[in-house]
């Protein structure tokens, strides 16, 4: 896992590519195939990738909330849903078309829906 600092002073936009993983589905051979395909896909985006990582399962999350000036912590994810973020990439590309081209290959590799959303510029 490699993190690079956001680039500044160019016309590139950073996009978040979120993988929506179905945690109710038992692990199967397709998952193993997806791991291999994602590793291969990752090799093709090294020049535009700012960050990429897979998350531990949602139950490992802790939510921190500010309620009337009091910080309250709760174990578990904020949203208990069947599908949750399984991991994501952050890429730095010239425009949405370039981001979608990469996201199309990402969804093919990881066999799950991939949501593409731009970051605000600095």
């Amino acid at each position: 896992m490699v993190g690079k600092c956001p680039t500044e002073g160019n016309d590139m936009t950073q996009y978040l590519l979120t993988v929506h993983h179905d945690y109710n589905k038992p692990a199967n051979d397709a998952d193993l195939e997806a791991y291999g395909d994602v590793a291969k896909f990752n090799e093709t985006i090294t020049d535009v990738q700012v960050f990429g990582g897979g998350l531990e399962a949602p139950h490992t999350a802790t939510v921190v909330a500010n309620r009337d000036g009091q910080i309250v912590m709760t174990d578990g994810p904020y949203l208990e849903t069947k599908e949750s973020v399984g991991g994501f990439w952050i890429i730095d590309v010239p425009d949405l078309d370039a981001a979608l081209e990469i996201a199309g290959r990402a969804t093919t590799a990881c066999k799950a829906p991939v949501e593409v959303r731009p970051f605000e510029s600095e």
């Binding site: 531990e56 500010n66 912590m73 991939v114 593409v116």
Partner: protein, 115 residues
């Protein structure tokens, strides 16, 4: 060190972006100070455009297709994130509390898988 995701859960229905520029400016200042105080532990941080700027890609009949809009339509959705490095989950949660105070929102702390 383990990497942790801090997702800022934002209520776009009741708190649309730029609804209150003065409050927003104060929030950006607090977040800036927080970032400065943990800069050695920040791997990435960024604020996202509103969910309506999202496009979702999926496979249909063996082909990747793109659809306008976010994958899930919900009132509260991620508005920005930090990726930070911390030695333990407790340390990450302590930083998560400060992140929550800085941004004035709810923060979900979740570890990345080790490499």
């Amino acid at each position: 060190m383990t990497q942790y995701l801090f997702s800022v859960v934002h209520d776009y229905v009741n708190n649309p972006p730029i609804a209150d520029p003065v409050a927003d400016a104060a929030m950006y200042e607090r977040v800036g100070a927080f970032n400065e105080s943990i800069k050695d532990q920040i791997v990435f941080m960024g604020g996202l455009h509103a969910p309506d700027a999202a496009t979702t890609c999926n496979i249909a009949n063996g082909e990747a297709i793109a659809t306008d809009g976010p994958y899930t339509e919900s009132k509260e959705i991620i508005g920005g994130l930090w990726v930070i490095e911390a030695a333990t989950h407790d340390e990450a949660v302590e930083l998560g509390k400060r992140a929550s105070e800085a941004c004035g929102g709810m923060v979900e702390v979740r570890p990345f898988q080790g490499v």
